[in-house]
Symmetry: C2
Subunit: 244 residues, 2 copies
DNA sequence: AGTGTTTAATTGTCTGACATTTTAAATCGC
DNA sequence: GCGATTTAAAATGTCAGACAATTAAACACT
């Protein structure tokens, strides 16, 4: 691990990169201890503040964890699915909001991804997954449910659908994408009629998955995609009119 | 933005979280300047080192950029598609390697995602996308190409396929997933026969997309998925035998 | 008006100190 | 000898103050 003192970049960034490369490149294994801050000072020939700033950068990326005390220090951290997904959601949410991605693009991406796992989910969904879907459908029908809670339940429903595929990597990728969509979905006002139609389609999807009929699940998802797109367009129009 | 001095967590982590929430929550817009380090010291009532460590955490997540000099400071950074994707790739790669995700799971996820955009790509692919695919197919047939370069070209081919859907959000999600798979793919040794078969399927996919035939593209992708899975299984077995 | 020069603001780095936390060793009492 | 307590050591977390480097604006001079 070497750094270039002549480089214009910040020293702390260079050091972070050097250590990150070592971790990502497999030179350090999970739970292995990094040299102490003082030792890193000697290795890179910089002050402790600089080393610490570098370590904080790595900590922010969930690459290391630190422990205080005699046997403490910085340790290579195992990235869990949950953490990875949380990071994915944060990144995606920010990307969507900062780049003013329109509803249609995001919605299309979301349903395209979800349809990707419909066949797998039809094949492998567990009774647990089905129960979750049914429970969320029931919740969606409750009177007096706020739009925001309705969206929460919608996300939970789709999460169960995705988990039904029994592929944790797929779940991580898709759940991140679906969750990131939520702020956009929250701009929609769901009338009772809208909700009834969505619940109807959710039921069709759950039924199809229970019957292990991938094609029917896909068809219902396609319909749900179209319907959501329509609702989104209406919401955008209403918003545009209000702005006038 | 407030922090809790009684909390056990690191002050720098709390401060980073407070600022992050403000940015993600839309309280600060792109290119807006954060208070200077000294001002933040006063606001949060901590020392400058602590503030700096917090800012480095945010910089590591691409949330801010810093500039030196008179009109310098920390600014909210616009997250670009490329950066978001790079982050996604890093996270996914690390997740796969650290959790010893097996080839089959990753491969299944990858192709399920790719098949998600086949219909859209068939509908919208540009002549540019098609040209890229043809060029990569040609490259894949060149004699003397190393396995690694072959994989690179494979990724480029699929990247063009995904981009063909004309949905940047989808591209970001999928390209990240596909690229993260590459280290696993690189463990495979591609014989001439393997390559011929893959090139054949790639050609079928390109032909189907050119003809705007989504179903045929999907079929070819499914076949490619099965074939890649088989190759991966063989590679894993060979590796297991060598280990004995 | 144009052109250097100074100055002020801001981040980047260094040094040294002290606080806090945690473990391991040393000590003490029995 | 052994258990309990105390002490010491190692490590991260925080603070304070200084200086370096960079940049843009204000200023002075021609």
């Amino acid at each position: 691990m070497k750094i270039d003192p002549k480089s214009s970049a910040d020293l702390s960034a260079q050091i972070a990169k050097a250590i990150r490369d070592a971790i990502v490149g497999g030179e350090m294994i999970v739970d292995e201890r990094l040299p102490s801050e003082t030792e890193l000072c000697d290795q890179f020939d910089v002050s402790r503040s600089t080393v610490r700033e570098a370590l904080k950068r790595l900590a922010a990326q969930n690459l290391i964890r630190t422990q205080r005390g005699a046997t403490g220090g910085a340790f290579v951290r195992r990235l869990s699915y949950d953490e990875a997904q949380a990071q994915h959601v944060t990144t995606s949410t920010l990307l969507l909001s900062m780049n003013a991605v329109d509803f249609e693009t995001a919605c299309e991406a979301r349903f395209a991804l979800e349809r990707a796992c419909a066949p797998l989910s039809a094949e492998r969904r567990t009774p647990d997954n089905l129960a979750t879907m049914r429970a969320e459908i029931h919740r969606q029908g409750q009177p007096g449910l706020s739009d925001e809670r309705f969206c929460d339940s919608d996300v939970a429903f789709h999460r169960a659908l995705v988990d039904g595929a029994g592929n944790p990597v797929l779940s991580y990728q898709l759940a991140g994408a679906v969750e990131a969509m939520q702020p956009l979905m929250n701009m929609i006002t769901f009338t009772q009629r809208n909700r009834d139609q969505i619940i109807n389609l959710h039921t069709q999807i759950a039924d199809a998955l229970e019957a292990q009929n991938g094609v029917r699940a896909d068809t219902a998802l396609a319909e749900l995609s179209d319907y959501t797109l329509t609702l989104g367009r209406q919401a955008m129009e209403a918003r545009a009119n209000r702005a006038k």
